[in-house]
Amino acid sequence: MTFLFEQSFIGYLSHSWPWYIAGILIASVMVFLLFTGKHFGVSATLRAGCSALGAGKLSDFFHFDWKKAQGWNLLFILGGLIGGYIASTFLASPEPMEIGERTAEHIQSMGFSLPAASKDKISGMLPAEFTDTEFIFSLKGMSLLILGGFFVGFGTRYAGGCTSGHAISGLSDLQLPSLIAVIGFFIGGLTMTYLLMPLFF
């Protein structure tokens, strides 16, 4: 019990949370949403975003009442953004993240830095390159961000969902399509990690 007295509650929360706690809490978000009559699926906000930006004039796929159907989800991701601010400002871990040896070697060989401690409210969850304007505006950096984002937006809509919609909501409902989608996530992720990224980075 001594740990409770040796550091504040906030200090305790600031360390990274174990996977089983995180898993339970993420499932509880899905359950709470179901009880509000909504289905957990974040990538739908991208379709709603296109609709809000006027894409409904060009394609029926975006011609729907986005406020009525997805307004709640846009509020939800606004909360997700605020939650990120709160957690990185008040609950930032004092130490840099620990990562596996193989991962450390792999990312360094591609020119990415190892985790740094949280500094100036930047949480250190991404390599320093992601805040380095020189990298961001380099050919490599821009292609990583632009192509990566494009694949996420195109792929999630083609597959009809992302990690929240398929891996968590879909598998919880024993949906075979979601299992196929998750297998796809790994085919893509492994090909990119083992073959394509080392080739270009």
């Binding site: 984002g149 297998i183 492994l190």
Partner: protein, 142 residues
Amino acid sequence: MRNTIFNIVKFVGLGIFFGIVMTKAEVISWYRIQEMFLFDNFHMYGVIGTAVVIGLISVQLMKKYKAKDINGREIKFEPKAFSVARYLFGGTIFGFGWAMTGACPGPMYTLVGHGYWAMLIVIASALFGTFIYGMVKSKLPH
């Protein structure tokens, strides 16, 4: 009016909770995603696995007891239309992007809250990707 305010508090509040959980569980970290695809750490598998097990139990109980939502309507689970091509191809393309940016859609927004403004570029191109999908949808195998 009261209803609108309640909705805002409810969904923004749940989102804040989700953002904090994703941050503290480090599932928004590019490093954790690299570890996951390199099979170098159990962490991500543990998080998603636990969420699915708890989710599965909850959903089965909700179905069995015909649970109702806060508006008194029965919670419905629509089965997804079966296909292989759509989920496999779409999933693979998403997997490329997940491994590159280390972010699926939820974490993108949370990382902006962390001050990683470069994620705005990722969100903008994800919107563009979704838009292009909408435009070429009828020409793709589904």
